[in-house]
Symmetry: C2
Subunit: 419 residues, 2 copies
């Protein structure tokens, strides 16, 4: 069967569900940072954050197999596997965050986080960024698109590269963005919408990984808390060592009240979670009827625990810092040669290259970025484009990406740019 | 560690998340229809519908293991495993339903079903039942509880045992309930809320498995379609042979436009899906940005396919019909002896016993039902109580429940009632 025939079958059985690339890749096998298509072509995976410890890691696969063969039920029975995982995961967080509510997707985690914030504060209003995506449910998607929503106020995300106002020092720019948060708080108050909190990705990943003026997050959080709201961080992309710290919020110097986790948490097994303070969890369970059939199961916990094992046993955090720093340095060197690489930035093994039409004008070049992504794929390297303008090349490999892989990627990237 | 200690650890790490039973059971192993607690006590599982082919079925476990060791990525790459499963599953549905959108939970399936209905019709109004639960997200939970929601109208669910009006023939009663649907359509029109459709569990499982007046569903559906709406069935509980038919809608003689599936679909692996007509899927994908990271993955598809294998290879459908019919007959005999068994009803291996204070008055006895559930658990049989009044004993075992199991259950039940 040709890929065209498979695409046609897919079109009939799955509708026009989105695929990557002009000519989609037909992947049949994965191992470590490598993916293989049906024709045997090898791709270096520089995109997928979900298989954080590498595709098909044997320790994770075995843990899944053992638990699946032993027990997998819902969470209304006691399970030491589930309790033990919850304890272990929350011990990796700031001490104030002690209680875990598991889910099956990042969207479900954000749903729970919003519900916790609203039930705990009694408020409804949520401050979010103006170029965000936190999930696909009706309520969560309200933050992403469409008309004005009275319960959500979208503030300009902090961005040192394309700032809201030119000519400011970093301190002034930070204050300028923080003032937008205060304006949103004031607008909710003027509209009679009690504040529930603010919800940001801790590293503004979908916004394009901007460099955030120092102190922004802590100051915004302080204003929100002073107005009676709580602070929610979406760690679905930033969490589990991606940034070179365990959690993205460690990069921000601000501990949230509620933290939503997902994607890498189960390395591909559907697993998400919300961590929070005991007093918030108590209100949540006291006032909601939340139950999730296939969440907080022994199988989720066994897989999630195996992911933590690998991160700890293979010094994944150390690798992220080492290879992440190296990759960023190399890309900054490359940037000197190419006008279109307007900005290179990131945290750990999550790097963005802001692709522009010319460096002085900083005009986003989405089409150019897409072209790079397509050519890199032809060369056997999977990356993507993201950001507010779709012009930020996103390099976000599994966390077991080594310096030798970075060298291959950088060589390929410079060849593609050259061509 | 004692169960009390584990419960206390759970309270700290998972908050007051719900557990079953006054003294929760601590389950550590499952096999077929049997569960085992930490002390080695054996329980017959007469409650869990998720492990539809039995706990830890080796074929499902092996399929999961093989695929997890081979590949598990998101759906923006082509995968023959995923396309093949989508084709195979939809071929089990009515011919008009051809396209599958996978998700990770029943809630996500209902979210997608609502979005499909609303985007396709351009309407917003959804007719649902007045004693329902379709999921835990903000939008889906609007149907279940709380104040009047302008976009949802809750109609009395059809019930021959506690009818909305006494003294009617079955035909008259059906017409009476159908008139409630028309009244909801008219009320939406009067309020200027364009109709999107109606959403019912095809067997009204959470309502308490009522006997539905013949023809009700088809007539209600016809009215909804005449008013421009579509028909959504929640098959999260009814689907995958539970009722003695592949789908609950086969019991109703009404083919829906959109069908939401979940729970048994992945036998405990988080897997749900929405099946629909091609024209609805086209509008959905054309107008939404729906993507779900850990859904429509090769691992979901491999597990889902293995569940279908077992259902086919082990003649599960035949077993459901045989043992379901037998169990219902035996329970009807038991009913003759016990006044409190007000009504016995169900479909296939999903049986409800309406527990009442006295048979003539039909007054629901929730406390009595809870007592039976607790005593059955002490005896080693897991059942539960459900329904609008919480008084319906719910017997819903894995579908590999055999006549010998039914006999053990019935003996235990009569002993408990006697005591």
């Amino acid at each position: 069967m040709s890929d065209d025939q498979l695409l046609e079958r897919r079109r009939r059985a799955m509708g026009a569900a989105p695929v990557f690339y002009k000519d989609p890749v037909h992947i049949v096998r994965g191992e470590g940072i490598w993916l293989y298509d049906a024709a045997g072509k090898q791709y270096m995976d520089c995109y997928n954050n979900v298989p954080c410890v590498g595709h098909c890691h044997p320790h994770v696969v075995n843990a899944m197999h053992e638990q699946a063969a032993t027990l997998n039920t819902h969470s209304r029975y006691l399970s030491e596997v589930v309790v033990g995982y919850s304890e272990r995961l929350m011990a990796l967080h700031a001490p104030s965050l002690t209680v875990l509510q598991m889910g099956c997707s990042g969207t479900e985690a954000i749903e729970v986080a919003l519900k916790m914030a609203r039930l705990f504060t009694g408020g409804q209003g949520i401050i979010c960024s103006n170029a965000t995506y936190h999930g696909n449910s009706h309520e969560v998607f309200r933050m992403s698109a469409g008309p004005f929503e009275p319960e959500y106020r979208r503030v300009p995300f902090p961005d040192a590269y394309r700032p809201i106002e030119e000519g400011l020092s970093e301190t002034e720019l930070g204050a300028r963005y923080v003032a937008e948060v205060q304006a949103a708080i004031d607008a909710f108050a003027a509209d009679g919408v009690p504040l529930a909190g603010m919800l940001f990705c801790s590293i503004f990943a979908n916004e394009g990984l901007p460099n955030v003026p120092s102190g922004y997050m802590a100051e915004a959080a302080a204003l929100v808390r002073a107005a009676g709201g709580v602070v929610i961080f979406d760690e679905v992309q930033a969490g589990f060592c991606r940034t070179g710290r365990w959690w993205g919020y460690e990069v921000t110097d601000c501990v949230p009240d509620i933290v939503a986790m997902g994607k890498p948490m189960g390395a591909g097994y559907p697993l998400s979670g919300v961590g929070t303070r005991a007093e918030i969890a108590d209100v949540f369970h006291g006032k909601s009827f939340y139950f999730n059939t296939t969440a907080a199961t022994p199988l989720q916990a066994a897989v999630g625990g195996a992911v933590l094992d690998v991160i700890e046993n293979e010094n994944v955090l150390g690798n992220v810092n080492e290879v992440g720093t190296y990759s960023l340095q190399q890309l900054v060197q490359l940037q000197e040669q190419y006008e279109a690489m307007g900005d290179v930035r990131g945290h750990g093994l999550f790097v963005g290259i802001d692709w522009v039409k010319d460096r002085a004008g900083r005009e986003p070049d989405r089409q150019g970025a897409v072209e790079i992504v397509e050519r890199m794929k032809e060369k056997g390297f999977l990356i993507s484009n993201a950001g507010q303008h779709g012009n930020v090349l996103k390099i976000r490999p599994p966390l077991v990406f080594l310096q030798q892989h970075a060298d291959l990627l950088l060589t390929a990237l410079s060849e593609v740019i050259e061509a």
